[in-house]
């Protein structure tokens, strides 16, 4: 770790001002990702602007019937918030599938959104990595890429966004509220994270001086037919090989509306409008689910060690859809399978 300056911001405007005036600075909230990366020498900020005490730690109902979640609400507080548990259970479930209890107690919502990839080469400063050092090359392409992406990859990077929470937020069509020197703006969730394309060093579309202030959830929470399924190597404290968030609205044995997002497969939470369209209006049965799953994975591409994920993701989509349709969502505390 290298030496750095430290400042604690007392207001959003001060945080933004400090950031704009300090080249190479980074915001720090819970620190569970950033400090780790600093210790590994992956992030070398000149200054840390501590936003953890900003008054952005509340969950409030919006006039439109949705929820506004402050960027500094802790992951565990949000997971166990009564309104979230009752009205947006898929979000609660996805949060509880992430990290470990101790980490969730520290981690903020904003930090979760902005957490960086877990690609092993991104973490190993001795190896080339375009995301860490633009233009240096991608070690994962010909390397050990078991945890890497199968959808939306580019020749420059095949990293995945590691968040569980974000997969549920994508399915729920959340909005991200941000404030920068040029003022406030609201970004649709699908436009927040980006694909690697030619600039894998950029994880998202946030400007350098912008602070995430909160997340807005629309009124629809899909409280009956949902599931968050996460396939991983151990029961806790492990990132997804593949995860699936499903929200369904059923009526008369048919699917009225379907939301489907995948985690662990792409540089951003992966939604597929085509597959969702293929589900709606159809009867909720295995044949429908398999068709949708095949559509999602139709453009998937493996890189050797991660090729198995294509089939695994297909199976996980079918399983999560069945769980959601059947009203038997995946439990995060009792991971009974089979």
């Amino acid at each position: 770790m290298i030496n750095f300056q430290y400042a604690r911001a007392v207001s959003v405007s001060e945080a933004v001002r400090l950031m704009a005036g300090t080249p190479g600075a980074k915001f720090i909230a819970g620190g569970t990702n950033l400090v780790d990366l600093m210790k590994m020498d992956v992030e070398r900020p000149t200054a840390l602007i501590d936003v953890s005490r900003l008054p952005l730690d509340t969950v409030e109902e919006t006039p439109g019937g949705g929820l506004h979640i402050g960027a500094l609400v802790r992951n565990s507080d949000l997971a166990y918030h009564p309104l979230v548990e009752r009205r947006y259970p898929v979000l609660s479930s996805a949060l509880l599938a992430g990290a470990s209890q101790q980490l969730r107690n520290m981690a903020s919502i904003g930090g979760n959104l902005l957490q960086r990839t877990r690609c092993a080469y991104f973490y190993d400063v001795a190896t080339p990595c375009n995301k860490r050092e633009a233009g240096s090359g991608c070690s994962a392409l010909g390397g050990l890429n078991r945890m890497n992406a199968i959808l939306g990859t580019s020749d420059n990077c095949i990293a995945v966004h590691p968040s569980d929470m974000c997969v549920a937020l994508a399915a729920l069509e959340a909005k991200v509220h941000v404030t920068g020197t040029r003022g406030e703006r609201v970004i649709a969730f699908a436009d927040f994270h980006r694909l690697p394309e030619a600039e894998p060093q950029r994880d998202n579309n946030l400007a350098a001086d912008e602070l995430v202030t909160g997340i807005e959830l629309p009124q629809r929470g899909f409280e009956t037919h949902y599931s968050y399924l996460k396939i991983r190597d151990r029961s806790s404290y492990a990132f997804a090989l593949v995860s699936v968030a499903v929200c369904l609205e059923l009526g008369g044995g048919r699917i009225r509306e379907a939301r489907l997002a995948l985690g662990g497969v792409a540089h951003k939470p992966w939604r597929d409008a085509g597959a969702e369209a293929a589900l709606s209006g159809q009867s909720a049965n295995e044949a429908t689910f398999m068709r949708a799953a095949a559509l999602v994975l139709s453009k998937a591409k493996g890189f050797g060690h991660n090729t198995f994920k294509i089939d695994l993701a297909r199976r996980a989509v079918v399983r999560a859809l069945s769980q959601a349709a059947g009203g038997t969502p995946q439990s995060q505390s009792n991971k009974k399978i089979a």
């Binding site: 770790m1 050990l144 396939i231 029961s235 991971k335 399978i337």
Partner: protein, 780 residues
Amino acid sequence: MVKAPDTLERADNSQGVRCRMVAASLSGKAVGQPVMRVDGIAKVTGRALYAGDVDLPDLLSGRCLRSPHPSARIVSINVGKAKALPGVRSVLTGADVPDTCYGRMCKDIPVLAKGVVRFVGEKVAAVAADTVEIAEAALELIDVEYAELPAVFSAEEAMRPTAPIIHPEAVEFVPGAAASIHGELSMYPPIPNVISRLRVRHGDAASALASAHKIFEHSFAVPSVHQGYIEPHTCLVAIGRDGLVDVWVANKGPHIARTHMAAAIGVQENRIRFNPVAIGGDFGGKGSLMDTLVCYYLARAAGRPVRMVMNSFEELTAGNPRHSASITLRTAVDPDARLLAIDARVIFNAGAYGGFVPVPTLHGGYGELAGAYRVPNCAIEVLRVYTNTVPCGHMRAPGAPQVTFAVESHIDMIAHALGLDPVEMRRRNAIAEGDLTPLGEKRRHLRCRETIDAGARAFGWDKPKSPGIGRGMSTYEHPPGNFGLSTVALTIGIDGRITLTLGSPDTGTGFHTIAAQLVAEHFAVSVDEVEIAQGDTLSSGFEAGASGQRLTTTIGQAIAAAADRMKQDLAALAAERLNCAPSDIGIGADGSFSAPGAMIDRRTLMGWAAERGKAPLTCQGENTPGRHSDRTSFVAHFAEVAVDRETGQVRLRRIVTAHDVGTVVNPITHQGQIEGGLIQAVGQAMSEQIVLKDGAVITAHLGDYKLPTAMDIAELETILLPGGGGTAPFSTTAIGEMSNVALPAAITNAVFDAVGVRLVELPISAEKVLEGLRAQASAA
């Protein structure tokens, strides 16, 4: 969860009653009691002193620059800029340290790379500075120019005639260490990169295989795993004005480490003092000097004490993990499924250096191979091979988990191929009283079948199960170690309290508590009256250290010898005080001394002796080293899994572990060894693996190197089959390396039982299961 009854029951051996047993002759005051750890309060309140806690005036921090290449020539190193950084006190490269190489048996590890690097992570330069941060900043200022050389990563490839030779010069090794081994051993035989080749034979396996009813051949692979201790390798070296070298290091065997250090740095043994420290877990990984030699040279160059602590990245990339292995077994059976012969070839990938291992080859690679079975003919070949990967060391039952995974999968595969129940297959072949081991050794108290039966009964092996659920078992045999010298000193103070001085640290197993209980038992006092003093290497007698399940046996014998002498000395004192002959003195159950018509308790006697200059009293004791005890122990594990055919996920639902035991000195630490070992084995089975790519460790982070979490641990039931017959002095057997070895095969056997997928390579993963199911479907 353990089902441990709180009653003391006398057991019917064959029933495997769950109980804690102590031999009838024991006082019941100490041995057999669930005594709290003697070092427990110090540890949980932070008072225990670990090597990293030691602070000295002018202490510097040392860090190492490590090689990014698996094999390269060092063309040049420029340390000018690093030396000029304010706060840097010494900078060393290979050119600044002597040519002597270090090793516990094979002396092949340079202090710092000399001209070549042989693995990613090898130490190339070292810096001591005022702070860790300055030292790390200095490392970035060192310019090293490398010329890459051909590298080889797999042991099989390293043995090919065209393979690059990793150690072209002859490697010196301690010949004595090779002597004790049985079989035909060749060190550095004429096969490229082979450190040792051991061939052990009993009977005539070739003929038996040639004429057998049926032959089965299977191959297995087990990856390298890390010991997973909490405390990283840490050392601190201070050189006094008088030249005395003081060392504080997380090392399980300070006396032997001291001897190795003396040889490596050319300083007399009695001018080096290894100071006592607590150890935060060892699991076999802390027997070497690791950074201690670099630390010494940094301290010498800087003229100030230096501390070095490895971080978790260094631990995972350049610690001394368990060897990966590939194992091929060929077995002959008769029409009744009886094992006639086993031919085994075991190849251990040693990594770039062999010096972390104190023996020619890993004992578990052959010593207990198929030891639970009657196999009249056996031929084992074990190879240890250099590659350009992280050097491997010892880990809990070195070699045994790898080989036992192979044997216990193989036996299961044979049983299924023959249409035989896996329990029946094992019962039929279980070694029994009068049989020789596969290596032709005689052992007594062979309760393999009883152990299997007790476990199977508790597990409900024959009960019906639902689809997707699988059950598997495995078994293993291993005797306590009785090798290596242990010396202790017992002192009775003027207040009558007893102090045991020993040279072995408590590596975290609870051994100091066990030692206190053994002492207390000899004097029929409560453990509170015994103090444990871990001496430094100048003030304590020689101790070979924790390894191979030996401490309770060897230090137990040393304590018994010292206690015997002490009792004689005490009787002589009492006789003097009570005016009678020593032969007239009786020792009461409460430890008091009596003569006809008179009696005196120990405290009063010592007070009286002190006034006459005859107290405190000290007596030494030592063991009589042998090899392994001839009383062996058995374990049988039963595992139940649920396998998800769609996602390939395997969930471990339940474990029953049955152990054939002697006297249990402390039921808490005993159960701790069982549970800790099982959890380690769950890790090896389900998620742990040091993943390498082109020689570099990819799982270099504890997020990627996946130790099991509490949520991954299954319901556990422990069955103890008491039955004595253990080793002297209190008829104990060993538990430390019993639980961590065989479980992975029980789990993969259960996966096979559930979905018919045979995993011959650890760890279990979703993709391996799915691949197996896919292959199954396309075959159908």
